[in-house]
């Protein structure tokens, strides 16, 4: 081989603290029963394969579309909200130019998805999906409609708390994260098997956005702050 073998060294990405992520074997969430692997996961070293990953712009993706209330000719129904925050690594370093994708139900708790059977109205002025890219400080901002709670068939009288789905790539294959943002004070949170599958209560609380009067725009929309922390190298934080 004449090609160079090693890329520049990258500091190891430590595994998250135990209790941070919900186990795939979570009996309270019925769909896990036949879908979680029963064999133990095999621990592997981080090679160049894991220390790389898709970097924005991913050629084939559409341009960022961060205002979900302006995707149709009319205004969607429901409570307009601003959701913003920072995407940082564990050392607090901003993740710049990283893609943030969201999707959610409408104000009535209905997804614009062919298999959503919930008998709540669709909103012709709301699709419920958006994309943006973080700025140089790791900040993102979406304008959307507060999603409604909706029933699901996990157990008798099961209702999902209002949530917005988030998808992020971060730095590499290791930092890939799909999660859900919840709203503060939701009475359904203590009853939700997905939220409560996260063992560590402090970790759970990281999924609840903070109401922010600073983000709130007078006469227009309530504001929420939702910061997202992705796995990071354990290197000494660099000066910003």
């Amino acid at each position: 081989m004449t090609t160079p073998n090693q890329a520049s060294p990258v500091t190891a990405f430590p595994r998250p603290e135990p209790g941070t992520h919900p186990p795939n074997d979570s009996p309270g969430y019925r769909s896990t029963a036949l879908r979680h692997p029963k064999e133990p996961l095999i621990v592997i070293p981080h090679t160049l394969s894991e220390l790389t990953g898709p970097v924005y712009p991913y050629g084939r993706m559409d341009v960022a579309d961060s205002d979900l209330t302006r995707q149709h000719p009319g205004e969607p129904l429901g409570e307009r909200v601003i959701v913003e925050g920072r995407v940082v690594d564990e050392d607090g370093r901003p993740l710049r130019q990283t893609l943030v994708e969201i999707w959610q139900a409408n104000a009535a708790g209905r997804y614009t998805h062919r298999i959503d059977q919930h008998p709540a109205p669709l909103d012709p002025n709301f699709s419920g999906a958006g994309r943006t890219v973080t700025d140089d400080e790791g900040r993102y901002r979406f304008v959307t409609i507060r999603p409604g709670a909706y029933p699901w068939k996990n157990h008798h009288n099961a209702w999902r708390p209002a949530h917005i789905h988030f998808s992020l790539f971060g730095t590499n294959f290791l930092t890939r994260l799909i999660t859900q943002m919840y709203f503060p004070g939701d009475p359904l949170l203590p009853l939700d098997p997905l939220f409560n599958a996260i063992p560590d209560e402090r970790a759970r609380r990281r999924l609840i956005a903070d109401f922010s009067l600073d983000v709130t725009q007078p006469e227009w929309a309530l504001g929420f702050n939702f910061d997202i922390v992705l796995r990071g190298s354990n290197a000494t934080p660099m000066e910003r």
Binding site: A7, L48, V88, N172, F173, I198
Partner: protein
């Protein structure tokens, strides 16, 4: 910052939010290298198809270069090969990607090389965390020296090696649970 943001399931309703046009094209028809179609399937512990999953692919181009700043070894990029793919499974639990055979990339130790492989993320309703696995290629002598395959008990290694259907087509069956369960990694 007080710790990493926890994972939650992608749920059943993601495709209007996550679909990308041409997501199955890990490499475009103009890319350098040996072109391949991978026909994948996903099954659960009852042997039923998983028809609501998201599968993401990450790989090097034919020359063994990742399109990422951490790969600064000076091997040329290929405009035809992003190395990234994202597809949803169909209702019968199937997915298809178009790609090229990736080149070899370094292993964890200096001087060590990995056999050609694809990184795969599986996300679905019923999975609270992403599952990470790899696909390796059949009839590839480099598999015998691959430092990641070497960590897997011999009787389970085969779950990561695609089957050849014809000269340009491979099959890769992912089993989430039960007999023939695919090897998944703690990355």
């Amino acid at each position: 910052m007080g710790g990493v943001t926890p994972s939650q399931t992608v749920g059943p309703f993601f495709d209007f939010g996550l679909e990308i046009a041409g997501g199955e094209m890990v490499a475009s028809p103009g890319a350098d290298g040996r072109h391949l179609v991978v026909r994948g399937s996903l099954r659960d512990g009852a042997g039923d198809p998983v028809g609501d999953a998201l599968v993401e692919i990450w790989q090097a181009n034919a020359a063994g270069r990742y399109r990422h700043p951490a790969d600064d070894r000076g091997i040329p990029l290929d405009d035809g090969c992003d190395g990234f793919g994202r597809v949803a499974t169909s209702s019968d639990g199937r997915f298809t990607i178009q790609t090229v055979m990736p080149g070899r990339v370094p292993g964890p130790e200096p001087g060590q090389w990995q056999a050609p492989h694809l990184l795969i993320s599986v996300l679905a309703r019923g999975l609270l965390q992403r599952l990470a696995t790899r696909m390796y290629f059949p009839d590839e002598t480099a598999n015998d020296q691959d430092p990641v395959l070497a960590l897997i008990p011999l009787d389970r290694r085969g779950t990561l090696i695609a089957r050849r259907l014809d000269a340009e087509t491979l099959a890769f069956d992912i089993v989430l649970q039960g007999p023939g369960e695919t090897v998944f990694f703690d990355v």
